[in-house]
């Protein structure tokens, strides 16, 4: 199932009058992938998603969804798309069922297929018991669920979620993460957010936007141990000399933190932790704590998006 290229964006540019919101943007998302779109407020995330979803026309460049150009054959491209905009597009006067039925009809579903699609979307978004409730009376979290239900209703290969977890409580955020994770198995998902742990938790790849440009694009795991090498934090009850630690195979630098704590920089790989534990037993250092410290996405994000401001 995976591998099929479902979203392809090339040379995308979007201007608002004289102001350029997004420029020179290239990315793609395959089936079975979740792409996290990151960036500070105003970086162009929502604009990008509006263009990809066909709500805005690109000033230059091309967007194809499931092989169909959004501008040349919008109907086919949009049939392959489920889109949750930044503000969930809900008709507050309708009940959840009425609303989802309307959305399903917009996508050409009728009769038994419509009912099946509606019930499946409700089940996936935890709305089974709420079909007859008015959308206006739902809490923010439930409204967000209805918005997501709308986006996955017709089982589109491409799902775009613009900040799906804004304003939700931690439990609801976990549920939505689980849902996105689930969707990521057989859909192409683009998720925009400025919550970094969210990206680390569910995304396969990350694209960081800053002032309308892509400043970073790679796999999430690569972002984790990017910057060449990783770090190991350890604590001992009877700490050895820093020089002893530095002599261990693979250690590049040792940074003592005091109270028996050290940070060891190493060249990557997983042999060092084992060697360190063995050395501790041998030397009777009393190893109490040992955990890998990866360069977090947050550090990367701050580095990339603050650099220009300082310059």
């Amino acid at each position: 199932m995976s591998g099929e290229r479902l979203v392809e964006v090339t040379g995308l540019r979007r201007d608002y009058g004289a102001r350029c919101a997004v420029r020179d943007l290239d990315f793609h998302v395959d089936r079975g992938e979740v792409l996290g779109l990151l960036g500070p407020n105003g970086a162009g995330k929502s604009t990008t998603l509006q263009v990809v979803s066909g709500c805005l026309a690109p000033s230059a460049g091309r967007v194809t969804l499931a092989g169909h150009d959004v501008n040349d054959s919008p109907r086919r491209a949009k049939a392959a798309l489920g889109y949750l905009p930044e503000q969930p597009p809900l008709y507050r006067g309708l009940t959840v069922d009425e609303y989802l039925d309307f959305c399903a009809r917009l996508h050409g579903l009728r009769g038994a297929r419509l009912r099946a699609a509606r019930e499946r979307a409700k089940a996936r978004c935890g709305l089974i018991a709420d079909g007859r409730r008015l959308i206006a009376q739902l809490s923010k979290g439930y409204q967000q669920r209805v918005g997501i239900a709308q986006a996955i209703l017709h089982d589109p290969p491409v799902v775009i979620l613009d900040e799906p977890t804004v304003g939700l409580d931690p439990n609801q955020i976990r549920e939505i993460r689980a849902l996105v994770d689930d969707l990521g198995d057989d859909h192409a998902v683009i998720l925009s957010t400025h919550i970094l742990p969210e990206v680390e938790a569910v995304c396969d790849r990350v694209l960081i936007l800053h002032r309308g440009r892509a400043v970073y694009s790679d796999r999430v795991t690569a972002a984790g141990d990017g910057g060449g090498g990783a770090e190991l934090e350890c604590a001992f009850s009877t700490p050895p000399d820093a020089a002893v630690l530095a002599a261990l195979d693979g250690v590049e630098a040792v940074e003592p933190l005091g109270e028996g704590r050290f940070v060891l920089r190493h060249g990557g790989g997983h042999g060092l932790a084992e060697a360190l534990a063995a050395a501790s037993v041998e030397g009777g250092w009393g190893l109490m704590e040992l955990r890998p410290r990866r360069r977090s996405l947050e550090q990367l994000f701050v580095e990339l998006t603050c650099r220009e401001e300082l310059a």
């Binding site: 608002y16 509006q50 979803s53 066909g54 709500c55 805005l56 026309a57 919008p74 109907r75 086919r76 949009k78 049939a79 798309l81 889109y83 905009p85 503000q87 969930p88 597009p89 809900l90 008709y91 507050r92 006067g93 309708l94 009425e98 309307f102 959305c103 009809r105 917009l106 996508h107 050409g108 709308q150």
Partner: protein, 246 residues
């Protein structure tokens, strides 16, 4: 067809809020009042009219003025309906749902138009029932009455289309309604003081309604309303398309 799906949702939206019901009720009340005033005036005049050979009948003196007044009511009520169509969706944040759906701008505009048109037809239908009550006591010139209803229907189409265009152009619903009402009112009175046959008379909405109320169905008048309707719908669709580039 997607246009009908859009139209169905729009109509439902008018009636799940109090708006649709209140608009219909108020229009009915106002029209009933005008109708009663009209009938009373006719009853007072009746004795004198009976003496004049070839004097205008109840259709000319009661029904035609009532239909003209229903036309004015349309100018007041329809901008409030059409403002919701696109401007309202934009403000409520629901427009992206329609723009990201596999649905052309033409279908979207047509759906919105059909909903406004259907609401207006309901209004005309309910108000148009009142003159039929006269059938219990007198006879009506039904040909004239039906010609008048046809004229109102064509006027309704034009009014709904103008409202839709302004709804697409103006982002704030209240401003769209005010703009529509102002423009329609201007078009309604454009022929005031203008000689028949002048350009001002030709663009006037009311000028083309008068022949229908006299029982005269002229293709030129039908053509006028259809041209206004179709032009506004095409421009609305273009505007929606253009709005993506904006």
């Amino acid at each position: 067809m997607s246009a009908l799906v859009v139209a169905g949702r729009e109509l439902r939206g008018l009636f799940v809020t109090p708006f649709g019901w209140i608009a219909l009720a108020v229009a009915q009340f106002v029209a009933a009042w005008l109708f009663l005033v009209q009938v009373e005036g006719f009853v007072k005049l009746q004795a004198r009219l009976a003496a004049v050979p070839g004097a205008p009948g109840v259709t000319d003196l009661v029904v035609a003025p009532l239909l003209a007044q229903i036309g004015v009511l349309l100018l007041v009520v329809m901008p409030l309906v059409s403002m919701r169509a696109i401007s309202g969706e934009r403000q409520a944040g629901t427009l992206p749902l329609l723009l990201a759906a596999p649905l052309g701008a033409g279908e979207l505009v047509l759906g919105k138009f059909l909903a406004a048109f259907a609401f207006g037809l309901l209004l005309i239908g309910l108000l148009g029932l009142m003159p039929l009550a006269l059938l219990t006591g007198t006879t009506l010139d039904l040909g004239k009455f039906l010609a008048g209803l046809l004229g109102l229907t064509l006027l309704l189409a034009a009014v709904a289309a103008v409202g839709l265009l302004l709804s697409a152009l103006i982002h704030q619903p209240a401003a769209a309604a005010a703009g529509t009402f102002g423009l329609l009112l201007l078009l309604w009175v454009a022929d005031a003081g203008a000689p028949a046959g002048s350009a001002l008379a030709w663009i006037s909405l009311s000028h083309h309604l008068q022949p229908f109320l006299r029982g005269l169905v002229d293709t030129a008048d039908i053509g006028y309303y259809l041209i206004v309707t179709v032009t506004c719908l095409l421009l609305s669709a273009r505007r929606l398309e253009g709005g993506r580039r904006g």
